[in-house]
Amino acid sequence: MISVAKKVCMVGPFAVGKTSLVRRYVESIFSDKYRTTIGVKISKKTVTLASHEVQLMVWDIEGVDVFTDLKTSYLRGAAGVILVVDGSRPETHRQVGDLVELVRNTVQDIPMMLMINKSDLVSEWKVNDEFKVINRNLVDNIFETSAKSGQGVEEAFDALANAMCSQDISVAD
């Protein structure tokens, strides 16, 4: 069993649930109180995969809106990125392309997962297949998640951890 540590960044528009997803994943807690993140909040979680034990240092970066640009310096050295959008707010969907480009300009060739969050809000869900098709090529995988119910959260992080480790192996080879 190889033990490695990896830096993972959560990126996305504001109020899509990045902090809630991290809390759900790391502490298994959900609270529907909204707290805006300023700067960055860092959490730690260890994932055990088939061949690796991966310690994820999750950098929960403040949300992006018209007033706040993505602070790319936080992305430096990241081994994987999770992009989060809000399934009930189509305006957040339109930011995916720009954000992917920003991330790629800073850290190339790292696995990236897209989380469409708030899947528990069934009546307000505004995700069509077209959106998934457009973005399928930009990211490694797309997950519908809910920080409230926990749906898809663990799967997405595990997929990212696997992708990061298999990339290591391919680089080593």
């Binding site: 830096k7 960055v40 240092m57 602070k71 050295g77």
Partner: protein, 554 residues
């Protein structure tokens, strides 16, 4: 370099090769390079052979000249040991067995000794005055006793050392001393990088500028940055420059030994466990030296204070004894038959007694030698009386105080009037401003006038009336003198009225300048008060009594 003649391969080659023409052909083709080419071909193994011969001495020489070879070899040896142990664990346990026993015994003995020592220290610190004071101060400051002791005895201490990968902010390795209150070092290290990014972003600093120091309370984080890694020191107290230079040296050493691994770091931190020993050199601390010397008790002052206290205790004890002796003498005289104590006064350090004695009683000397054991200073004024035949001459010589006499209301009234009439208030030049010494007389004057008015009514002396007369000095015009004298009288009248003296009884007059040329001008600038004495019209005894009632006889 010419090849040695006995090189095995060359010889074998020659022996095995029967075709000398072939060799000649090769020599013709290659010329003088033939030997060199052969040499090149065989040189690698030849080198290995020659290095093998000198390897041991080369290592020895290298160690003597540059001690860093040990550090360079350490990771290799670690790996070798690891592999060897993994392959054959029983072998290592066989080798270790004779070493382990004594080592364990030694370690146990050392820990026991440490325990006894620390117990002793704890007892010393808890039971000594300083320990108690520290405990109190720690409680007051809200920190643990141990931390307070540390803050008192340590100038600084590096509590934790983090080796952080610069690019990712991931922790490569960290060490801490036992006292450190360690939180999750991985989070700390990531957060330090994030703070650095945050500061850079927020203040538009360039990529090359580095965060060097974070301070909070007594703790500071010192950051030392290299191309691939950062060393962060958590320091309690005030560290000096030497700590940073140690950190810098350590960082340089790590970059030297692990440069490849730092550049290709992909999250595998196991290799950096080998930095443990290097990082330990950063866990330094400095104790406050000469603490006892610098905080010496002010012995001289303490001795002085003690002497002072002793002196005062002694004095008061002696004074108490003296008074007790004095009381004993008095009561002895009082109880002595034939003696009458008339008065006694303690006038330190002398006791004055006035007494009468019966000429038939015990003599003075005999009495005092009996009752005055402490040999006090006693001034005796004794009057001898012979009972049976009264000696009038001696009786008249008695200086007994006059019997106290009650002062009547009338006499009081007369005294108050006298006091008011004798009042003279002086003013400064050309103004109605009272001189300070005169102003201090006002309270007494006010009280006197009020007493006068009250007694006047009590005694039925008619209407109380007081004239307030203002005077001026010879300077100035007649009109001016008149004016200022009026102002002075009016000022006093108003002051009295303001202090609740009945305005009906006061009459202010300015009389200008009235005094003769021989009177000093400063005494001419005055206000005097005059009570209109109506007693002679009231049918009461006239108040021509000028006798002064002795003070304190009431």
């Amino acid at each position: 370099m010419s090849p040695p003649p006995d090189v095995g391969m060359l010889k074998e080659h020659k022996d095995k090769e029967p075709d000398n023409d072939f060799i000649r052909l090769r020599k013709l083709l290659l010329g003088p390079d033939y030997d060199g080419a052969l040499n090149k071909y065989i040189s690698r193994e030849d080198d290995a052979e020659r290095v093998a011969l000198v390897l041991a001495s080369a290592i020895r020489q290298s160690v003597a000249e540059d001690p860093s070879i040990g550090e360079a070899l350490a990771p290799v040896l670690d790996k070798a040991f690891q592999t060897s142990i993994a392959q054959n664990p029983s072998q290592i346990s066989n080798v270790m067995f004779p070493v382990m026993g004594p080592a364990i015994r030694k370690s146990v003995a050392a820990s026991l000794r440490d325990m006894v020592q620390s117990l002793n220290q704890v007892l010393e610190q808890s039971l000594s005055l300083r320990g108690l004071v520290w405990r109190f101060k720690a409680w007051r400051a809200g920190v643990s006793y141990g931390r307070y002791v540390m803050s008192q005895t340590l100038r600084y201490q590096v509590e934790q050392v983090f080796l952080v990968h610069k690019e990712t902010g991931l922790l490569l390795h960290s060490i801490a001393n036992e006292q450190a209150e360690s939180n999750d070092p991985e989070l700390v290290s990531s957060m330090l990088t994030a703070i650095q990014d945050f500061v850079r972003d927020s203040f538009n600093r360039s990529e090359t500028s580095e965060l060097e120091r974070i301070e909070m309370g007594g703790l500071s984080i010192q950051l030392c940055s290299g191309p691939h890694a950062i060393i962060a020191l958590a320091v309690r107290g005030n560290a000096d420059e030497s700590v940073f230079s140690i950190a810098e040296e350590t960082l340089e050493k790590i970059h030297l030994d692990f440069s490849g691994k730092l550049a290709d770091f992909r999250g595998d931190r196991a290799v950096f466990a080998a930095t443990d020993n290097i990082l330990k050199s950063c866990l330094v601390s400095e104790h406050i030296e000469g603490e006892e010397g610098s905080k010496k008790r002010p012995w001289l002052a303490l001795v002085f204070i003690a002497m002072l206290v002793t002196f005062f205790i002694n004095q008061s004890y002696r004074s108490y004894q003296f008074h007790a002796a004095y009381q004993r003498v008095i009561s002895a005289i009082e109880s002595e038959p034939g003696y009458v104590l008339v008065s006694s006064k303690f006038d330190a350090p002398q006791l004055r007694v006035t007494l009468l004695r019966d000429s038939a009683s015990e003599t003075l000397d005999a009495l005092f030698s009996r009752i005055d054991e402490a040999h006090l200073h006693i001034d005796v004024n004794a009057h001898e009386l012979t009972f049976g035949e009264i000696d009038t001459a001696k009786l008249s010589a008695l200086t007994l105080p006059a019997p106290a006499r009650a002062v009547t209301t009338l006499e009081n009234y007369q005294n108050v009037i006298k006091s008011i009439n004798s009042t003279v208030l002086l003013f400064s030049d050309k103004s109605a401003a009272l001189l300070t010494e005169s102003a201090t007389e006002l309270p007494r004057l006010i009280s006197n006038i009020k007493t006068y008015a009250r007694l006047n009514r009590e005694l039925g002396m008619g209407t109380p009336q007081v004239l307030v007369l203002g005077f001026a000095d010879p300077k100035g015009t007649r009109f001016g003198k008149q004016k200022v004298s009026k102002e002075r009288a009016e000022h006093i009248r108003q002051t009295l009225v303001a202090n609740e003296v009945d305005s009906e009884i006061l009459h202010a007059w300015g009389v200008g300048q009235r005094d003769g040329p021989s009177m000093q001008p400063e005494l001419q600038r005055r206000v005097t008060l005059h009570v209109l004495d109506q007693s002679r019209y009231s049918g009461l005894p006239a108040m021509i009594d000028t006798r002064i009632v002795p003070e304190g006889s009431q």
